[in-house]
Amino acid sequence: MPNVRLIPDGTRYSTPQEETWRERLRHQLESVLHLWGYDPVQTPALEVFNPHHPLAEKGFKLVDRDGTVLMLRGEYTTSVAQLVQTLPTPTYPVRLRYSGPLWVRTRDAELGRQREYTQVGAELLGVQTPQSDAEILSLALGCLDVVGLPKAAVEIGHPGFVKAVLEQTQLEPDKIQALRGAVHRKNAPELNRLLEQYGIAGQTRAAVLRLIDLYGSVDVLREAKEIALNAEAKDCLENIRAVAELLPPERFLFDLGIARGLDYYTGVIFQAYTPDFGQPLCGGGRYNAGLPAVGFALGLERLTTALGEAPSLETVYAICTAPQSAQRLRAAGKRVIGAWTDKQAELEQAALAWGVPYLVLGDVALRLEDGVRCSVEELCS
């Protein structure tokens, strides 16, 4: 048995190859967010446990020295919204981005799902307009493009629409809840059975049944008009239409039957998918955390799983016996390592094994491929 300590389920060691890749992806994403004007923030990984937190049941709990229950950060949105309220006189809208590890205790570790995982995300706070929703949606797409997922599509929904259409039935909350569950699973037989059982008929019944089939291109927004019978449903539809108008139609899908997060999201909601990967790469939407806001987060592990293998490590450029030569090359932006022994044969052997092109002996560079010599100056250029 190799002497490796066990690590908890759903956590990972990240190899140099993987971490180099993760670092690069994070950097690419952060650069996009930076260019869109989002400033970085960080929140404590240790949070004071709050039973009303969206992940209160699912988080890892710890006990502080005075007995206070703490929870490991399980998502960023809640704490970023709190952080904003501590900023000295912010001028809204505020654009913030974040990046870091999160922990979810109750999750099963499996393909694309870890209990310790990393999110990169952005929040646009203190504004509630179609333009701000569209900005976050476009930004999410920009992030997927920069990491090399040009076929990814973003799917937009509006849980408020589902809520409004279900309220057209004028049923009691527990029955609405049951209908909502069936809509969420696009469970046509169950929905039919429930509507029958609750005695819902005619136009109202037809509207609820249509909900689960309203997914696809932007055309579904037009079809949805037929089932928007009350003012709330019409408002939601108008809202999502106003957002859609600001977006290029070819990369966006719509599903007016999205019923998740009904109690949390206050406007549009979205997830992004890429072909042949069955899990969302990112998710977000409009919410209210003391102030109106819209945001999204990408799961870094989802991205790497969807993208496939980590690219090979960048080899170093040279092995240098003289520290001065190494310093000059580094100043020229070359990645070089110092010699760890006087034995030239050992250095050459290592260089060949790693694919390092040059061995620099004193101030003379030796190209290992063909034995040609040149000066350190020449290597610097």
């Binding site: 499996e110 699973r185 046509a188 998918y273």
Partner: protein, 206 residues
């Protein structure tokens, strides 16, 4: 378009699933003698997985869709779309005890611990759930458990072992389930399949 379907490997459930897919118009050759776990026919891939694992393969997106009994869907707690009731063998989740049950139920044995916990909670029964691999009836007969929650088809095994079906908790059937991303990205293919399956399910004999 490439489509991967997870179907249950259990003899009876496999036969039913293949039957449904063929009737829905998919061209699948005779698999009676095949031992392959992954079968490819042009753009179609079939994965033969253990019945309870079908919802897992679909949820993580290894399969785009699948066919499986509703008991396994409930027990898995997975968040898949469930658009078609394929009918098939009608069976039910039931709460079962001896004909002279103990005054107080403290332990309930089942193959479906997750679903059972949910039922017990809904009915306010504060009992421990004992997860067993099969032949659940024996646990009630031997005193390992005071009651059992299991699927019942005809009820014959129960009768022969002196057990009584106290409550039918839920009627069950075989369902077609779909991965959330796949439904959207392979919308045309899957919409067609859903419509065909819905159309034939009305005609499948029970």
């Amino acid at each position: 378009m490439q489509l991967t379907i997870a179907i249950p490997s259990g003899e009876r459930s496999k036969k039913f699933a293949l039957d449904c897919l063929r009737r829905a118009g998919l061209e699948i050759p005779d698999l009676t003698d095949s031992r392959s776990l992954r079968l490819e026919f042009g753009e179609l891939t079939l994965l033969l997985v253990k019945d309870p694992d079908v919802p897992v393969y679909v949820d993580v997106g290894v399969a785009d869709c699948g066919i499986v009994g509703q008991d396994h869907i409930l027990e898995s707690g997975r968040d898949n779309y469930e658009p078609v009731d394929l009918g098939g063998n009608k069976y039910r989740f039931s709460y079962i005890t001896l004909s002279n049950p103990p005054a107080r139920v403290e332990r309930v044995a089942t193959k479906y611990p997750r679903a059972t916990r949910q039922f017990l909670r809904q009915r306010g029964i504060a009992a421990d759930v004992i997860a067993l691999g099969g032949k659940i009836e024996l646990s009630a007969l031997t005193g390992l458990a005071d009651a059992i929650v299991d699927i019942v088809e005809t009820g014959r095994t129960l009768q022969e072992n002196g057990l009584v079906e106290r409550e039918r908790l839920l009627e069950l059937s075989t369902r077609f389930i779909v991965n959330r991303a796949a439904l959207k990205l392979k919308a045309a293919t899957l919409r067609d399949l859903i419509h065909s399956l819905t159309a034939i399910s009305a005609r499948i004999p029970a």
